[in-house]
């Protein structure tokens, strides 16, 4: 997904890969699908046959065999290890995806999450036997409250977008409780917002009214005032925003929103820039989700699992979903039903992403108040270092203005080169780098959003900067081939995404005999 998910197709003519007998090239190996190498009778797990017994399956027993080929243990390990080597990873290099926050994943957190007292605890065990689990949830919730300055936190949402949904549901419940459910039907969303924001608002029946960002990349209180009306339920604003800028007028925006009787949802995807520097609660936020997989570094795992607890103001706290943990003297109680309260309901079975809570709490304890602030500062420092070091060769849409944790460039500087942001990104792959986020945010043409995080050494940043400068100079000098054919040295050349979308093949099927 390169041009914001719109399928692309390689522009250069097909170049056959250099032929070898195996089609492998050195450490770069081709790997068949398990369905092509596995056998229906092969297995990598020895299971003893049970003693004879009387089946109780009745008429429900499966008749047909399942088409699931198995592999023995050595074959399985080889298959997945070989596949893994075709992946880029943060452990192997800087992963500068803006807004995704690919920071170091401490292995201590993996070790802790696997302690039997966390990993081997059932969600419906008697609560008296799961006090440590509840204590973990309470400790993380308290830490999040301290950092956000908010009044309550709903812990169960399973990812950022799920957290958005939770926060917006709390807002909807509060508005319904005020008897204004029928009249407040609109949610304001800046045009710079992440796609999940309008999708979330629309999912629960709101119509979306767009608010334009100003020339400085910020949403102004004036623009928000102009869009506010008695039909507005809430605004969804990302801060720091998707351009990597702090919303300077956020306090005024909050005030205007509250005066109009609406709620302020803050997308906390970029909270990692300001932990220990400012508290969303002090800025007038009513609800904000926190991506534990970004700010608190739970591993992204190739696309999840995430975790998206939502901090709530006192105005929304009563509507928080079940379950929640309540301290009653020395014991912790798990409230699993609304019990006559105003809770809007339930987001998921059980209690949220406990495995992620453990990792996030471990990350927070390791950093402490001093380390968390330092991490925010280093993330912002590193992003500005990149911005200041590339500003003279690439074009930044907001000039010399300092950014927060990510540096944004546009494609004006590529104008006369015949090259695109996508070409530039693909050339980075040949240099051994994962590209930055491209074509997002949508309001900046040909956007390149670079988020180095606090995890990079100065030497790593310097090499990255020198590489991008070298590429930029080559692009401007007209070395089109280097870009348009890129990547050449990756496990794959550019993919025909158009074909994937037009003739979808979404699973393996047995080849038909010719």
């Amino acid at each position: 997904m390169n041009v914001q998910g719109r399928p692309t197709r390689p522009e250069t003519a097909a170049v056959p890969a250099r032929e070898t007998f195996t089609r492998n090239r050195g450490l770069n190996t081709e790997e068949a699908l398990i369905f092509e190498t596995g056998r229906l009778d092969a297995t990598g797990v020895d299971i003893d046959q049970p003693e004879p017994f009387q089946s109780r399956l009745g008429p429900h027993a499966r008749g047909s065999a399942i088409e699931l080929p198995g592999l023995t243990e050595p074959e399985t390990i080889r298959h997945y290890v070989r596949l893994s080597r075709n992946n880029y990873s943060i452990d192997a290099g800087i992963y500068p995806l803006g807004s995704c926050t690919m920071k170091h994943n401490p292995r201590l957190n993996e070790k802790i999450a696997r302690l039997p007292g966390f990993a081997d605890v059932h969600p419906l065990q008697p609560v008296s036997t799961a006090q440590g689990a509840l204590e973990t949830i309470e400790a993380l919730a308290n830490a999040l409250l301290t950092m956000t300055g908010m009044d309550a936190v709903a812990m169960s949402p399973k990812a950022g977008a799920h957290g958005e949904l939770c926060g917006m549901m709390a807002i909807k419940a509060a508005i319904e409780a005020r008897g204004e459910g029928a009249t407040r039907r609109v949610v304001l969303v800046p045009d710079s917002a992440h796609g999940t924001n309008p999708a979330t608002a629309a999912l629960i029946g709101y119509s979306v009214r767009s608010v334009p960002a100003g020339a400085d990349g910020n949403v102004s209180a004036e623009a928000v005032r102009a869009a506010l009306a008695p039909d507005v339920a809430a605004i969804m604003l990302t801060n720091p925003n998707t351009c990597g800028l702090f919303e300077r007028q956020i306090a005024g925006i909050a005030e205007a929103v509250h005066e109009a009787g609406a709620y302020f949802y803050c997308d906390g995807a970029n909270f990692n820039a300001v932990v220990g520097k400012t508290r969303p609660g002090d800025l007038g936020v009513d609800a904000m989700h926190i991506n534990l997989h970004k700010t608190f570094s739970t591993p992204h795992g190739g696309g999840g699992p995430g975790a998206g607890p939502v901090a709530l103001s006192s105005r929304l706290a009563p509507y928080a979903p079940v379950p929640f943990v309540k301290r009653e003297g020395a014991a912790l109680r798990l409230v699993e039903h609304a019990e006559g309260g105003a809770s809007f309901g339930r987001m998921c079975a059980f209690h949220g992403q406990m495995g992620m809570f453990v990792r996030a709490l471990s990350f927070i304890l390791s950093h402490g108040a001093d380390g968390l602030r330092q991490a925010s500062e280093d993330a912002v420092l590193s992003a500005n270092y990149i911005r200041a070091s590339l500003n003279d060769v690439m074009s930044a849409p907001f000039g010399d203005r300092p950014c927060m944790h990510e540096a944004l460039f546009d494609d004006r500087w590529l104008k006369d080169t015949g090259l695109t942001t996508l070409d530039f990104a693909k050339a980075m792959i040949d240099e051994g780098y994962h590209p930055m986020t491209v074509y997002f945010p949508l309001i900046v043409h040909g956007a390149m959003l670079i988020e180095p995080t606090e995890s990079e050494s100065k030497a790593s940043l310097d090499l990255f900067i020198m590489t991008l400068r070298d590429l930029a100079i080559a692009a401007i000098a007209g070395e089109r081939e280097r870009f348009q054919s890129a990547p050449v040295d990756a496990p794959r050349r550019r993919l025909d995404e158009t074909r994937a979308a037009r003739q979808p093949v979404l699973r393996w099927t047995k080849p038909q005999p010719a």
């Binding site: 592999l71 699992p305 975790a307």
Partner: protein, 447 residues
């Protein structure tokens, strides 16, 4: 701080290149009166050893399932996970990579997802599956919304055998999107008349098999009744291993199959992270939520994989997307897929058989205790007990004796008149000693 590579002199040099006097200058956009001066009111940084010590202490305050005779399921199952699984998912290239947006350097994740989709489709007997959802309950809610899009109706019928928390998730979602649900009363014996609840406004019928109380169900009649009225059948399961022994949703004519995948490859984790399985008929694919990996070729003509059909998704469609979902459960899906690859059809069948055998033996022994009744004539690895004492009380008493005896139904369904019911599960991890301990403890508690 061991995770932060920059030192003081490097920070100074970087500030100088940027051209600002100090770090605060970079935070100047935050209104001065809203800035934190000093530190948050939290403890300072700790060494790895100190954190490990603190967290281990907390972990010690919960009972690990593996340290007791353990018979609790109800949507999450304790399995023996081959050591290979956890080793492989901790490889840096899987653990610390992002969603595969740059397919040229993410073929590992993409091929895994393509294989996962194929496995889930085969397991459920459906034609296509997505790259996973958050968990079974949210997959169930998304399936309901998908049925609404497909049928352009908005009234879902929910079986009384559906996991109560799954039903709560659907109810919350339905209320919020302005749809209606008809929730049938708790159905202990799988005797409800679903067909009667279906009318011409019905979008879908959501039925779990085996149901929350452990009853396998023939979904074909419900599917036929739904189809006769233009509605869809959504089949739900909470343990993927059950599909190694029981008829699949596809065989029983389901339109959408959703389930919890935790029972393969994933630990209990007090409820998360898990993974939702989501499969359907090929004709419905463009209304399916979630990520999809598809096959294509690269510029050199080699088979390759890429995320596809993203014109359904929020980052393109914004408010017109099929779902607001962005993340899936990639690493949990990988664990599921590796476990299933290790098992293969043969291993899955044997694993299912051992689960069933252990449950049958346990049921036979518990049923022999006076005044204790096993409700289900048929079951896979989970069944419901009726006891002469309130179940919640009994489960606590068993816990004090070191036995985790199951789920008192009243915990999830208070006031449903099922206060004497316990949902009991058995997996391959249970031994004869575990069963003996349970039977003895239960008999003691009832004496």
């Amino acid at each position: 701080m061991r995770y932060l590579p920059l030192d003081a002199s490097e920070r100074e040099a970087m500030l100088a290149r940027i051209g600002v006097p100090d770090i605060e200058a970079l935070f100047a956009d935050i209104p001065a009166d809203k800035r934190i001066h000093g530190l948050l009111d939290m403890p300072l940084a700790k060494s790895e050893m100190a954190v490990e010590r603190a967290m281990t202490t907390i972990a010690g305050r919960s009972l690990a399932a593996g340290s007791a005779p353990f018979f609790l399921g109800a949507g999450a199952y304790r399995r023996h996970i081959p050591a290979t699984v956890d080793h492989l998912i901790q490889r840096s290239e899987f653990l610390t990579s992002y969603t595969p947006y740059q397919p040229e350097i993410a073929q590992g994740t993409l091929q895994v997802l393509f294989e996962f989709q194929t496995q889930v489709a085969a397991l459920t007997g459906m034609e296509v599956a997505n790259a996973s959802m958050y968990d079974g309950s949210t997959a169930c809610g998304e399936a309901m919304l998908m049925a609404h899009r497909l049928t352009r109706r908005n009234r879902a019928v929910i079986s009384g055998g559906l996991h109560p928390q799954y039903a709560d998730v659907c109810a919350t979602l339905a209320h919020m999107v302005g749809d209606t649900i008809v929730r049938l009363p708790p159905d202990l014996k799988a005797s409800e008349d679903i067909a009667r609840a279906i009318d011409d406004e019905t979008s879908c019928v959501i039925v779990q098999a085996p149901d929350f109380f452990g009853n396998p169900r023939d979904l074909a009649p419900a599917a036929a009744a739904a189809h006769a009225r233009g509605a869809l059948l959504i089949a739900v399961f909470t343990d993927p291993v059950s599909l190694g022994a029981l008829r699949s949703p596809g065989e029983m004519d389901a339109d959408i199959a959703v389930g919890e995948g935790q029972g393969l490859g994933n630990a209990l984790n007090f409820g998360g992270p898990y993974l939702g399985l989501f499969a359907t008929r090929a004709k419905n694919v463009r209304q399916m939520p979630g990520r999809l990996a598809g096959e294509t070729v690269d510029a050199a003509g080699r088979r390759s994989f890429v995320l596809t059909l993203s014109t359904r998704e929020q980052h393109i469609r914004r408010e017109k997307a099929t779902s607001n979902i962005c993340t899936n459960s990639g690493l949990c899906a990988l664990a599921f897929s590796i476990h299933l690859t290790l098992l293969g059809a043969a291993g899955l069948g044997r694993l299912a058989k051992v689960n069933h055998a252990n449950a049958v033996r346990l049921a036979e022994r518990l049923a022999a205790i006076p005044a204790v009744e096993v409700v289900n004539p048929h079951f896979f690895n989970e069944f419901t007990l009726r006891t002469p004492r309130p179940a919640a009380e009994l489960i606590e008493a068993l816990a004090r004796r070191g036995v985790i005896g199951g789920l008192p139904v009243s915990r999830l369904l208070p006031g449903a008149g099922l206060d004497d019911c316990i949902v009991v599960a058995s997996t391959e991890t249970n031994t004869e000693d575990d069963r003996e301990a349970y039977v003895q403890a239960l008999a003691d508690c009832l004496r």
